[in-house]
Amino acid sequence: MSSETMTLNLKIWRQKNAQTEGKLVDYRVDHVSPDMSFLEMIDVLNEQLVRKGEDPIAFDHDCREGICGMCSMMIDGKAHGGYKNTTTCQVHMRLYKNGDTIVIEPFRAQAFPLIKDLAVDRGAIDKVMMAGGYITANTGNAPDANAMLIPKPVADEAMDAAACIGCGACVASCPNGSGMLFMGAKISQLAVLPQGEPEAPRRALNMVHTHDGLGFGNCTNHAECEATCPKGISIEHIARMNREYLKAAFTYHEKTRSEGGA
């Protein structure tokens, strides 16, 4: 742990709300310890601003241990700073040098309208999930947990996909603002598990169609999402989703039937 501190120049996106125009504003932060996390550095800046009676910078954050998916920020044009398997809250200032200039912007995409400064509305992720990111298993129905055998490689594959924290870095870093990685991860997780199979085609169709209607762009396989994903989720899951979707589009059929009875 080092005791030397740094001075940093920040260019931070300030925007009062979605209706007003925003711009990058210059700030200087002194006495930045290399042991600080990136968000703690912003905390220090905000303390300075409050003391001066200025409006502190609004940003989303919560667990600060890289799992809740609440923190965002494009740091120098890269989602979560672009460090491998790292969320913004886990970026530490020892990665920067005294005198560095850092540009901090919000996650931008049509599907993520801006709320204030660095905070955006990622509700579209919930909407995609509502369209089918679940297994219909009402409480109380479940058979014994070991009644359905799931080989380790399958469980591991599902877990790789399930690691998604829903932060939206994939959308923000995608040159097309597409939501295919987080959606693909969920469809893929539930498609490889036997529990998810009964609903798999319906899930793929509904989720993809909902995604398309929310202002997300289309995937053109840049794989920038995979590079930037703080949980290292592979685009193989997008491929599995494509497969699932193709299969479902050509085979799934559901008639409307009356459920009346005695």
Partner: protein, 224 residues
């Protein structure tokens, strides 16, 4: 909703992408055929002209093939334009330029540009070769079009050759991303073999782009 799945397919992002992928792969196949034919230029005027004549004599079948190719090209192009327009809108006015350097490549980012160059090239190419100067020649007593001469005449110009080579570089760049990308889009990506698909895509791009370019330069040298 779900019952009209097929209707949705062609309108959905994945469905359209898959149509682009399939048309793209078929066009890749067409390029291989075209290139093979072009190599006959190296064999000599007769070989090339007989080959061209045989194609021309297919009659209705040729028109069908041509219509098919036109549909592939136009479908590929139309869907791609729509896709790109949506994507530009989805990212909004704040396109961030910096990238991690681990995902996007020059090829992936320039797909619309290289694609457009190829489309313009295609039209000019048809005008200058297929619908270009018409000469006749007789091979083994059969009167046929001397396409060999048309081609060599065309490549006599340094400008035309340079443009052609440039277009083929675009083709190589375009397919270097497009080939593997189509596999990913169709869902044929698995950790076990996808690296090889990517390699194959690269080899394809170099061979096809390089092949066409090589022949054009050869023509240029020969024609002078």
């Amino acid at each position: 909703m779900v019952t009209s799945a097929m209707n949705h397919y062609c309108k959905s992002s994945i469905g359209r992408k898959q149509l682009i992928a399939v048309t793209g792969l078929l066009l890749c196949g067409f390029l291989v055929g075209h290139l093979t034919g072009n190599f006959l230029l190296l064999v000599g005027p007769d070989a090339f002209n007989i080959y061209a004549h045989k194609l021309a004599s297919l009659g209705a079948v040729l028109y069908l093939i041509e219509a098919g190719l036109a549909a592939l090209f136009l479908g590929h192009l139309g869907l791609a334009i729509k896709l790109n327009m949506e994507n530009m809108k989805a990212k909004g006015k704040y396109q961030q330029k910096t990238r991690t350097g681990r995902g996007t490549t020059i090829a992936s980012q320039t797909m619309p540009i290289t694609g457009l160059v190829l489309f313009i090239f295609l039209i000019l190419h048809l005008c200058s070769i297929k619908f270009g100067s018409h000469y006749e020649t007789t091979v083994d007593g059969v009167l046929m079009r001397d396409l060999y001469r048309t081609t060599l005449e065309y490549f006599r110009s340094t400008g035309a050759t340079a443009w052609y080579v440039f277009a083929m570089i675009c083709a190589a760049v375009h397919t270097s991303h497009g080939f593997a990308s189509a596999f990913q889009t169709m869902g044929w990506n698995h950790g076990k073999y996808f690296k090889n698909v990517k390699r194959l895509g690269l080899i394809y791009a170099i061979l096809v782009g390089g092949g066409f370019a090589f022949i054009s330069i050869w023509c240029h040298m020969k024609g002078v």
